[in-house]
């Protein structure tokens, strides 16, 4: 049974991983869906502008890395409770967030965002590069959506298991 500090931290983790799932869900469904349907130059320029702002957004950094901090703390504390179902669930939930969101973002999305930012929207090759970026970026963004969603569900379930 999860109590005290772990219970509070788990509630925070449900909220935080759920929010981050929604953040990426927005891009997987409406954000990228819309920009890919727009004329390519407008889509490319919009995504470049969104990436420029997102990189500097303190609220987004807090959401992304603050959530990571909570999941790491819970995962470390769960190591002492791996004989309980809740400990196992929380370890999996933390690993999912760290690998499926943080590692994936830093290793895959950020380098591609930087490369996209360097494109000149007016040069003809940029359109093809944008189309390829948008298709692949979105596919991996689905992973970034499902991973924290599953984390949120596991944290919620762990509140109620022994």
């Amino acid at each position: 049974m999860i109590t005290g500090f772990d219970e509070v931290a788990t509630v925070v983790a449900v909220v935080a991983t759920g929010l981050m799932a929604g953040f990426f869900f927005a891009f997987s469904t409406i954000g990228m869906g819309g920009l890919r349907a727009a004329p390519p130059i407008d889509g490319l320029r919009s995504m470049q502008a969104i990436n420029r702002v997102a990189d500097r957004s303190p609220l987004l950094m807090l959401g992304l890395f603050g959530t990571a901090a909570v999941t790491v703390v819970l995962a470390v504390r769960s190591l002492g409770r791996l004989d309980e179902t809740s400990g196992v669930l929380q370890l999996i939930a933390g690993a999912l967030y760290i690998v499926g969101v943080i590692v994936l973002t830093m290793g895959y999305h950020v380098p591609r965002n930087i490369a996209l930012g360097r494109l000149d929207a007016d040069s003809p090759g940029s359109i093809e590069a944008w189309r390829r970026y948008a298709a692949e970026w979105t596919a991996w963004n689905h992973v970034r959506t499902v991973a924290p969603l599953v984390s949120a569900i596991l944290y919620a379930v762990s509140l109620r298991t022994t």
Partner: protein
């Protein structure tokens, strides 16, 4: 895990996802589009708005959160003075008024008005006017929805940790 607890947990996750969508517009999408000139801003938003009609989004994000919250509240009705009932009821009201109604009465009509602008045939002045009638007030409404969603989320998350006072029906 009992049905009541499962539904409360499900509404916490669903409302979290929806609020995260609003959050992404508040901190990512709209500040990014703000840097674009009027014609590109309007074109980009029009296409994003077309994608909002994606049924996965409207069903899961807006309806799902409201249905889960109301279901969680109704399931606590046998003990209406319990913290679980009060928190779930408050979260439902906040979510329905602050997210669903604000969206339907505020953001959607603005989306529809902006959607009617034909970027190709409008003058620069018409585009500037359409954007200024849209952007600032849309963003304000979106902050309202995001804050209401976070508040509803906090209430339902706390409710999820409270053990029911009455014995569960074991049937």
């Amino acid at each position: 895990m009992s049905a009541r607890r499962a539904v409360t947990a499900a509404s916490a996750v669903t409302v979290g996802v929806t609020t995260g969508v609003l959050f992404s517009f508040a901190v990512g999408v709209m500040p990014g589009l703000h840097d674009l000139p009027d014609d590109e801003f309007i074109t980009a938003f029009q296409h994003i708005d077309d994608a909002i009609t994606n049924p996965l989004f409207t069903v899961v994000a807006f309806t799902g959160g409201a249905v889960a919250l109301v279901a969680a509240t109704v399931m606590e009705r046998r003990d209406m003075r319990s913290p679980r009932f009060v928190l779930n009821a408050a979260a439902s009201l906040l979510y329905i008024a602050g997210v669903v109604v604000v969206t339907m009465a505020g953001n959607v009509p603005k989306n529809d008005r902006l959607g009617k602008i034909d970027v190709a045939t409008s003058t620069l002045a018409q585009l500037a006017a359409a954007r200024s009638a849209f952007e600032g007030s849309w963003n304000t409404l979106n902050v309202v929805r995001t804050v209401a969603g976070v508040a509803a989320l906090a209430l339902v998350a706390v409710a999820a940790t409270i053990r029911p006072r009455l014995k569960e029906n074991t049937s």
